[in-house]
């Protein structure tokens, strides 16, 4: 592992300020020993080498204090970032059962600024924390777990109960502003989806004025079911990141209905135009499950992922694909009505093709490919979790005035350009 030269430089500077010159090579070899041979994290190694050198030069008195004082200054929880040594005060807002024997306790700590997940290592000998009580944590470390900051209480952390109790209400964060970690949101249930997994209690889509986000609640004793259309204050929900997308994990969160409240959920109304460059697998004539509230697409063999074989189904048309403007490729989902308009293939004619011809289903899909791929279209609709749910889509036709403008633009050499 290579040593970050900035780290060496930082240490060297620190000593230069104190009037001591230390060769970079020496610092580097010490760092290397710790990180490479002992597998110590670079930040930790930096601290250790600094302290060692301070001792060596008899500087560990007041200067040592000044170095570590930063970690004893109390900071707001929202300011804790991975890589920091922190001192924070906060309230234990929830405790969850530890997932490993190495962990004594785990839960969420909050102050008025925000909340963070924490773990108390079994080896830390820290006192047992109680829910809803306030504590001060001195010299805890913060690292990153699945993209979210997580605080670790280790043997070097001083934990002390705090008497003065402050009351605070965590303020909700706009959905578009969410970051991985723990947050509070005020949102409306836009969609309620059937759970895809037996351990799943509920899943769906939440929205506020700024956007929408998926949510999931895993089964446990104290599950609260959200109702579609209602607004909820959700305190201390987990915000997870998977493949660059955020979702809320409401398991264990405190959920209160905001009765009678109305939220105008951002429709995420978006317009994109570009070339239709790709058609996805779910394109064409499909069969849907007729079980009340299901409506899932069936496989060719009429199999519904939840309700098994459904020989009584209803037909539908849809197009999944990618519209590409040359800078960004956007997934689009086009429902029956717009798909019919765009391709000129109606549901009835598609059914006729499918029922009178063994390759009918493929024919429908192929016809759609032939009429759509490589064409310029303009789509508008709402962005749901990275896919544009198309409400209107029309082919773009050739614009000759644009052509004339471009000839003008191309005929003047750019002034002050990089021309050679």
């Amino acid at each position: 592992m290579d040593i970050d030269p900035q780290m060496t430089e930082r240490i060297s500077l620190l000593f230069k300020e104190k009037g001591v010159l230390i060769e970079n090579d020496k610092i580097e070899s010490k760092l290397k020993l710790l990180t490479t041979d002992f597998g110590i994290a670079p930040e930790e190694a930096e601290k250790m080498v600094t302290n060692e050198l301070l001792r060596e030069h008899g500087l560990n008195g007041p200067s040592q204090q000044s170095y570590s004082s930063s970690s004893q200054q109390k900071i707001p929880i929202s300011g804790a970032s991975p890589g920091d040594w922190v001192t924070v005060e906060g309230k234990i807002v929830s405790l969850s059962s530890p997932q490993s024997e190495a962990i004594a306790q785990s839960g969420i700590l909050s102050d008025e600024s925000g909340a963070i997940r924490f773990i108390v290592w079994a080896k830390s000998n820290a006192p047992t924390l109680e829910e809803r009580k306030w504590y001060r944590f001195e010299s805890a470390t913060v690292d990153e777990y699945r993209g979210a900051p997580s605080m670790k209480i280790h043997s070097g952390t001083t934990v002390s109960p705090v008497d003065e109790e402050k009351t605070f209400m965590p303020s909700p964060v706009q959905i578009s502003e969410l970051k991985p970690g723990v947050s509070t949101v005020r949102a409306k249930v836009v969609q309620d989806w059937e759970p895809r997994h037996e351990r799943m209690f509920q899943s769906g889509l939440l929205g506020d004025e700024s956007g929408t986000i998926r949510f999931v609640t895993w089964k446990e004793d104290s599950n609260v079911r959200l109702e579609a259309g209602k607004v909820y204050n959700i305190y201390y929900t987990g915000v997870d990141e998977f493949q660059g997308r955020l979702s809320l994990n409401l398991t264990g969160a405190m959920i209160l209905e905001d009765e009678g409240a109305v939220i105008e959920v951002a429709s995420g109304n978006m317009k994109i135009s570009g070339a239709f460059v790709h058609m996805g697998g779910g394109t064409g004539l499909i069969k849907r499950c007729k079980v009340e509230g299901c409506n899932r697409a069936l496989s060719r063999q009429n199999y519904c992922p939840v309700h098994e074989i459904q020989n009584d189904f209803r037909y539908d048309l849809r197009i999944t694909g990618v519209v590409d403007d040359g800078q960004k490729a956007s997934n689009v989902l086009i429902q029956r009505e717009e798909a019919e308009k765009l391709t000129g293939i109606t549901l009835d004619s598609a059914i006729e093709m499918a029922e009178n011809n063994p390759l009918g289903f493929d024919d429908v899909t192929m016809k759609m490919q032939e009429t759509l791929i490589g064409r310029y279209v303009e789509c508008q609709g709402s962005d749901i979790d990275g896919t544009l749910l198309v409400k209107g889509c029309s082919p773009l036709s050739y614009d000759s005035s644009r052509h004339a403008e471009l000839i003008n633009r191309a005929s003047v050499s750019p002034e002050g350009g990089v021309q050679e």
Partner: protein, 194 residues
């Protein structure tokens, strides 16, 4: 890694956009590189106008189409845009592209989404081919719209040339003449309208 910054997980998949490019520019592209050390890291071509591309969207008239090979059949075709010729191929590893290629006729206007690659012939000359992902017959209107689109995006690239990392690299590698590519755009626009 910077403090407090949340890095994207490496597994997240973002489809590469299809860059718009005239044949005359693609023909002059020479630098191909991989972004990352992984076997599956995407391969890019650095365009002389200063952007990397892994996928392109092109339009033109099919001037020649040929089925080749006995057991491993593949198609080659030429696609003429207002600035020059694209060399297309579709092999048996792209069943769908091959079937689409079979339906295309010489003289048709076609739109192609594909991956560009730089090849060296046995006699040492270098040329750029396009491995077809999809090819469809389109009308003249689409071809003209594509010409506008490609002209716009090429001019955009030229106007930001020198201010992005990729264009600085391109300048170093190709010693790009802005004027040369501006003229290609101009001539393509004029030629397309006839």
């Amino acid at each position: 890694m910077s403090k407090g910054g949340f890095s994207r997980p490496t597994g997240s998949f973002v489809r590469e956009p299809a860059k718009r490019i005239f044949a005359a520019e693609l023909r002059e592209s020479r630098l191909q590189f991989r972004d990352g050390d992984d076997e599956k890291s995407p391969s890019f071509i650095l365009l002389p106008t200063g952007e990397r591309c892994n996928r392109i969207f092109i339009c033109g008239e099919v001037t020649q189409k040929e089925k080749r090979g006995d057991q491993n059949t593949f198609y080659t075709a030429r696609l003429r845009d207002p600035s020059g010729i694209f060399f297309l191929n579709a092999g048996s590893y792209q069943q769908e592209a091959m079937q689409q290629m079979a339906k295309i006729n010489q003289g048709d206007f076609a739109a192609v989404v594909g991956k560009p690659g730089i090849r060296e012939t046995p006699d040492g000359s270098i040329f750029v081919t396009v491995r077809v992902e999809t090819i469809t017959t389109v009308d003249r209107d689409t071809y003209l719209t594509w010409t506008n689109d490609t002209a716009t995006q090429t001019l955009d690239r030229l106007e930001s040339f020198g201010s992005t990392d990729d264009s600085k690299k391109a300048s170093e590698f190709y010693n790009t003449s802005i004027e040369h590519y501006r003229r290609i755009v101009y001539e393509s626009l004029v030629a397309a309208d006839i």
